[in-house]
Symmetry: C2
Amino acid sequence: MRIAIDAMGGDLAPTEIVAGALEAAQLWPDTEFVLVGDETAVAAELGAAARRVNLRLVHAPDQIEMDDDPARAVRRKPQSSLVRACALVASGEADAVFSAGNTGAVAAAALLGLGRIPGVSRPCVAVVLPAQGGKVIVCDAGACVDSKPEWVAQFGIMASLYAADVEAIANPRVGLLNIGEEACKGNALTKAAHEQLANAGLNWVGNVEGKAAFRGVADVIACDGFDGNLLLKVGEGVAEFIGQQFKQALTADWLAKLGGLLARHSLSAIKRRLDYAEYGGAFLLGVKGLVVIGHGCSTRRAVVSALRKTREGIEHGLVRRLAQRFADSDEAAA
Amino acid sequence: MRIAIDAMGGDLAPTEIVAGALEAAQLWPDTEFVLVGDETAVAAELGAAARRVNLRLVHAPDQIEMDDDPARAVRRKPQSSLVRACALVASGEADAVFSAGNTGAVAAAALLGLGRIPGVSRPCVAVVLPAQGGKVIVCDAGACVDSKPEWVAQFGIMASLYAADVEAIANPRVGLLNIGEEACKGNALTKAAHEQLANAGLNWVGNVEGKAAFRGVADVIACDGFDGNLLLKVGEGVAEFIGQQFKQALTADWLAKLGGLLARHSLSAIKRRLDYAEYGGAFLLGVKGLVVIGHGCSTRRAVVSALRKTREGIEHGLVRRLAQRFADSDEAAA
């Protein structure tokens, strides 16, 4: 298999992206990694490793910045590493693309370059987060705001299939992110989406409050992209805040310092457990090609995790399976 | 001053509510506390303390349950403790009302019983949360969903005045909860609300992402009630999840246990810092009367904190100040 990598996307690009790709190329000799980016910059990072048999470099003179307007940047920069990497998937030269760039730009480039799976209204981003007893998948995590209820239902359907196929969760329980447990709770969107999801043939568990999202009550939480992104970022913010409070507490006096020192090994285990870098990339679901988005500040370790997931997505034929699912529901509706 | 207390509202009512009121009555002999609820049940909790000079009991045979539909329950249960407690404020027999009941029901009862301040489109709930360097006020935290942009701007205006007057934050910095920092980011509501807030004469700091909300970049974060409630509950959920992870880590082996033991004093200090019970109640802003809402599972300690804040709200003439603010802006607009 072959994976195109946007070498210029992300806060730590190209250094960490190229380093991650190199590590992946060593780990998986059966996979070809195509680094798309500024030839000189990427070659400098690669050094002697540029001669590896399962690494290739494709030049792209331009790049999309984190603060570029996504849709506009994608149209105006056809020579950018991101747009070129997507084009490799569109032309069949690669089986998937990975980028740690601006999420909006990746979604826009994928939509423009690959198109939507027939029957899918809007693509969505499925993010995997740690939760009690394992993990929880939040979808959409920011690709699509101002959603219609039927789009949110599709997010649930796509994420459920992804959860079962790639995340190996049997018969995933699907819930809807909401501000109350009862069906009557929420805003106009969630009330309508509740009804749609309840009738979508999923393993439906109803509304899930933000408080319960990390308790493992659902494997998949469907939501509008604004709400999902809010959940994601509030989660990051609270984790950071509490982490700092703990750090302060464990350096407050010599007794606490000693305590922290003794518990250090055990505490660093949870730090790992809460670390996004362990969770790999987020899949963009609903486009005609496999697209994996990395965290903006992806390190080499995060890149390797994401590429591991990308390989699994290819192996499971995720895009084909999604297309089949929506073709089936078209038939059922016909 | 005189504060009406919904003795039957909250998961731990009437026991913890009455216990909190008793403690408050001892702390503040200058304030009369009027316990509204089932006479027999409240009297049983009060015991001999029922004879305190600054405690009074007003009978209300009915009560609103946590899972009642708010608006309907308020209309159908005029004899409920909540509706009666609000009526005491409407008739001038009390200066404020406190309830730890269903937030939606408190808002509905207050709106129906007290009415809106002229010029205010929708009442909102201002919740105080811990943040780096102090605290952050999120408003609206759940009273009003499907907001219009101008309502969100009013939430910011009301919470700013509350922050300055009651929370003693000089010239509070006001931001808008959003999923990106730039003005162009967000959904249709936040884009429009951004423009309104930027021109509202506030100490405006722009969009605040969920990630930054706890970093102390703003004193007030304005938002739609769905988004604010999501922030609040995701925050609770993540705090709970991380707390459990730490607990597990500090009992994983004997070394970690010893460490946890040594750091215990210091760790319980952050637990207190993150405890909602320290933060008092949330003010319902925009109605013609002072209304303070307690956390659903308020303990006696939380009730005392909330009553302390209620007294401050009365002392600062918060409702009068808000009414003045909106009368002024009416004049300015005329």
